[in-house]
């Protein structure tokens, strides 16, 4: 069930269910074959990965803004046990999902990973993200040409002193 697709443990891709998703990220080349309905992140989104703020990264990746939706379920710890490998996942009940992306607002470069979801695939992605410090985490689901988001604060703490 666990497949390592990239050279970095933080970029591991975990396939949820039997479906497959494509990873577009640092050190990974985009898939050569694409469905005709390819979304905005059709080719390797070099510009998006260069953006420092999450707003700029979203704009560079998708060219528009997302609306918050309770149909996007973002699971991440409130307080990270290890900021170096924070487990995060997204599932959604939205139909016609074409991509799922993660943005770590306080990291040097906000876009952490973007996944293209092939037709007929269960739209669920889990991975490990490195977080430099306490940060806002944004997940975006692209579905039927629209963008939906969920946000969660993840605290990265020095620890100690618990009761």
């Amino acid at each position: 069930m666990t497949t390592t697709t990239g050279p970095h443990p933080t970029r591991r891709l975990i396939l949820l269910g039997a479906a497959s998703v494509a990873l577009i990220g640092l050190g990974n080349l985009p898939f050569a074959a694409r469905p005709a309905s390819a979304a905005a992140n059709d080719k390797y989104p070099e510009e998006a990965f260069k953006q420092k703020s999450e707003a700029d990264a979203i704009k560079a990746l998708y060219g528009r803004t997302a609306e918050p939706s309770d149909k996007v379920k973002l699971d991440a710890p409130e307080i990270a046990e290890n900021g170096g490998v924070v487990p995060v996942s997204v599932t959604t009940t939205l139909d016609k999902v074409t991509s799922i992306s993660f943005f770590v607002a306080e990291n040097p470069y906000a876009l952490a990973a973007s996944y293209r979801i092939a037709d007929g695939t269960i739209p669920g992605v889990a991975n490990r993200l490195k977080m430099a410090k306490t940060t806002k985490l944004v997940a975006i689901v692209e579905a039927d040409g629209k963008l939906y988001s969920a946000t969660k604060e993840v605290k990265v703490t020095v620890g100690g002193c618990g009761g």
Partner: protein, 583 residues
């Protein structure tokens, strides 16, 4: 006992009755304060955060326990007079002494020590006997195995024996995890009850390596819940361990396990208990801390009562919290064996129709110690007690720890660390356990160990810049005052030695700590490097154990130096009923 008995007599029949609180409407006879009117068909007795205090203790409740945002002025964030008024307790009563810091020293002489497991056993047996067989259950909310020198050298084995004799049927954990997996598992082999934790899972790496787990499919390391037959009904007890063990403590103790609040997994489990197991009541035995439990109760449905601990709040009445499925009651049962919580339930088919709750102070002088338990405690202590009975000093003032910012115990530890390790600055963790020592009474090594006995006691000295010190303070302050309880860890603020600062609890992280000044009055420079001493680091350290360092300092006849008080100036919380003085 004559004089004390009179004091208890005077304080009985409390003014509180005017508020119609059944728990405080006690008879005039001292023995009868433990007579509880029969109610319902099931009785659950709950102790929590006893911190292995086998013998009765003095423990001063906090004079600073600030609630921020929605929690401001709400239980448990009330201290002193505000607490007495909220719960209708007369200020000169034994209850005022047990539940608050109000005139603590004066009352300590009148009402004596609280707790002690031989005394607890007498009271527990009596309250279980009152309702008859198969109608009662005894549960422990965790932090049972840590807090004394004895528990530390025996790695909690002493407390497992005590728990078995006391007949604790279910427990969850926090400091229990700091002995590491092997010791924890060895102790649980001997423990006759159930260790429950719905929120501890194998890490993916550990699961891949086939590490042991209660349920391989879910990755749950421990049994999440147990169903008990009580009064002819099925009662589920779900365990919730402290959610932040690998963050608050060195991760090396629990490398294979991942924690968290795990709200969603909890909801699924409760739903399954209701739907599949057809239980009549669901109780969450929680080590979340009260603020976390209050939030959780508003979001998770299907739980009747949360029996809470961790934050050491002695709250006389349950707090009712509404959620989408109904109402959940939230309690917190204090610490150090001072209190026994009695939850009486009227359970019907699939439903709890009503409850009565009593948080009984365990006044040691009103209870005859159970001979069997007293014998066991004596036997467990015997090999060590003479080594630790040496008087190391006689304090010239009341020594207590509990409080959001400081207390004399930690001031003393910081002073000793700075002096012995030749550091300008000392930091000491804001633990909430650690007992109170009266002025003028001999302090022994056993007393000192009761303030310091942990599995990572090594001291350290390191250089830190002023900016780094501020960052550490900001980080820990956010664990205490984050407006969202799920981001709190339930400890108090790190104690500051050698410098003072201003704290604005209502600000956001980064903006709470200001005006850091060395004791001489000079401002800390952001890039200036300071020599900082401390202990209880989550990173591995090599220095001598803190008890040896502090013991050496005290044996030399020194006590406090320079300033008294916390060294913390509070801003923006004037009038907050969570403040009644220093600490």
């Amino acid at each position: 006992m004559g004089i004390r008995r009179r004091d208890f007599l005077k304080s009985a029949g409390l003014a509180a009755a005017s508020l119609g609180l059944p728990r405080l409407a006690r008879g005039a006879d001292t023995a009868s304060i433990y007579d509880i009117e029969r109610f319902g068909n099931a009785r659950i007795l709950h102790i929590t955060d006893t911190h292995a205090q086998l013998n009765p203790v003095y423990f001063r409740e906090p004079s600073v326990n600030i609630g921020i945002g929605e929690m401001a002025g709400r239980p448990p964030h009330l201290v002193g007079r505000a607490f007495l008024e909220r719960f209708g307790i007369r200020s000169d009563s034994a209850d005022a002494y047990a539940f608050t810091c109000f005139e603590f020293e004066k009352s300590a002489g009148r009402f004596g020590k609280l707790g002690g497991f031989a005394h607890l056993k007498t009271l527990i047996d009596r309250l279980r006997g009152d309702v008859g067989a198969k109608h009662s259950l005894l549960v422990d909310g965790g932090d049972l195995w840590q807090g004394t020198g004895l528990a530390n050298v025996m790695q909690g084995r002493d407390m497992v024996e005590v728990a078995n004799l006391l007949d604790i049927e279910a427990m969850t954990g926090h400091w229990e995890f700091t002995y590491g997996e092997q010791v924890l598992r060895d102790n649980l082999e001997r423990f006759k009850g159930e260790f429950l934790a719905q929120n501890v899972f194998l890490t993916e790496e550990a699961a891949f390596n086939d590490a042991p787990a209660f349920d391989k499919a879910s990755g749950r390391v421990f049994k999440p819940s147990v169903i008990k037959e009580l009064g002819g009904h099925r009662v589920a007890i779900v365990g919730q361990a402290f959610p932040y063990v690998p963050i608050a403590h060195p991760k090396r103790f629990t490398p294979d396990w991942t924690f968290g609040i795990r709200e969603e997994e909890l909801q699924k489990h409760v739903d399954a208990l209701r739907a599949t197991e057809k239980v009549d009541a669901v109780i969450l035995l929680s080590h979340n801390g009260m603020d976390v439990d209050l939030k959780l109760a508003s979001r998770v449905t299907g739980i009747d009562v949360i029996l809470g601990g961790h934050t050491h709040d002695a709250v006389p009445q349950p707090i009712a919290v509404k959620n989408a499925g109904g109402t959940t009651l939230v309690t917190n049962a204090g610490s150090n064996g001072k209190f026994l919580a009695v939850l009486d339930l009227a359970i019907g088919k699939g439903k709890v129709s009503d409850i009565r709750y009593h948080l009984l102070p365990v006044f040691s002088e009103l209870l005859k110690p159970d001979p069997g338990m007293a014998e066991l405690i004596g036997r467990l202590r015997a090999p060590h007690v003479s080594d630790w009975s040496e008087k190391i000093t006689t304090p010239d003032r009341l020594l207590y720890r509990r409080g959001n910012f400081s207390g004399p115990v930690d001031e003393l530890i910081c002073t000793a660390l700075r002096s012995e390790l030749d550091a300008e600055i000392a930091l000491s963790p804001g633990f909430r356990w650690g007992v109170t020592a009266l002025s003028g009474q001999a302090l022994t090594m056993e007393d000192l160990l009761a303030e310091t006995a942990i599995t990572y006691p090594e001291t350290y000295v390191q250089e830190m810049t002023g900016a780094q010190i501020k960052d550490v303070l900001e980080d820990i302050c956010d664990n205490l005052f984050n407006a969202d309880p799920y981001y709190q860890q339930g400890g108090d603020m790190v104690r500051a030695g050698g410098f003072s600062y201003t704290c604005t609890p209502e600000a956001a992280i980064g903006g709470r700590i200001s005006e850091l000044k060395l004791n001489g009055g000079k401002a800390l420079g952001a890039s200036h490097r300071y020599k900082v001493a401390g202990w209880a680091s989550v990173n591995r350290q090599q220095g001598a154990p803190v008890w040896d360092v502090v013991g050496k300092y005290l044996r030399s006849g020194r006590m406090f130096q320079e300033r008294l008080g916390s060294g913390v100036t509070l801003k923006g919380v004037e009038g907050n009923p969570g403040i009644a003085g220093q600490g």
